[in-house]
Amino acid sequence: MIQNAAPALRIVLYEGVGSQPLAAPERLELFRALLKKGYQVTRALKDGGVSAIQEGLLLVLGRFTETRPELAESHDGKVTVHVRELGERSPQDVVALVEEVVGELEAKAPGGWKPWFPVIDYDRCTNCMQCLSFCLFDVYGVENKKLKVLNQNNCKTDCPACSRVCPEVAILFPKYKQGPINGDKIDPEDLRREAMKVDISALLGGDIYAALRDRSDKAKSRFSKERDEDRALKERQFCLTKLQKQLDIPDEVLASLPTMEQIQAKAARALGSSEEPAS
């Protein structure tokens, strides 16, 4: 899952002892401007109450009433603190100042990531590997025999397909519009609906209709009468399109579905090559 464990720069707006507090509207504008640029910003007061900082780069901004050194380091050398005076800068000028410091320090700037990736709810995941088998882009892998998101950047933006095949509704996309995929609570109806969609063999093999049959008596009678192969193919196409719409699956994903054999082989390989826990 983790792309890069290097800590990002954290900005601290210091309003504690030895500094002048900011007026609320100015504080709001500063937070707005810095958050918009993707920074993490902490407001620090005399009594703290914010998260302890154990490592990384801190840029402390304030309207100081005492002279402060521009650079300090924690005794273990894990935290480097850079201090800058806010003066009468506008929020835009503060952003420019921050960017200047980021450039000078060659610090990791915000961004450079893909805001669409699956998150596993391990309270629900049964390690069945259907998602790993289904995903064409190797987003999933196995570590210590456990399903993991290994290549989140490979995930196709706005494609929730793997969460649709998960029988346990265990795959979240926090930025998805609807529940339960967005993390909303799961009700029995969700479980029933998801379970209906999950059988990969039905989705990919000869009986894609199974899931749809469950939904529609009309479809049931049509399928049962079906004999003609061409017509079957057409129906299959129609159902795939319908299913694709219902499940929000992009064309790109549906266009290159693997065969059942490929799927099974992939899951077996992933499990086989999973490493034992390091001692």
């Binding site: 899952m1 792309q3 709001l28 993490q40 914010v50 915000p110 709810d121 967005n182």
Partner: protein, 127 residues
Amino acid sequence: MSQVPRVLYCHCAYARVVPEDVKEAVLEGLTASELAFDTVADLCELAAKGDPALKQLAQAPCLKIAACYPRAVKWLFSAAEAPLATEGVEFINLRVLNAETALERLLAPELTTVIEAESTAILEETA
């Protein structure tokens, strides 16, 4: 709970899943308060990058998180190898609450019991 809760606010930068007016009103209320707090442009980004800040936050004995669904927030922290404690965390869901209620809960000096109960229920339901 006698601990002063640490407050984390997520500005949810992408996808507009958190209503803009709620996000803005909560940020305005927070910055006008007397509280110290942490803000992040996008909690999903921190989780994706495995930012150590999440570990530090997860270690807080008492934490309020204004972001989105509790289940999503819980597993985002977990994905960054920064699992949240099962107690002492209040999830304030900006996707569903109105700004007034969200802010009231965020600024309350202690964890709001009703939310704790709701959050626990949600997490238990999904267990």
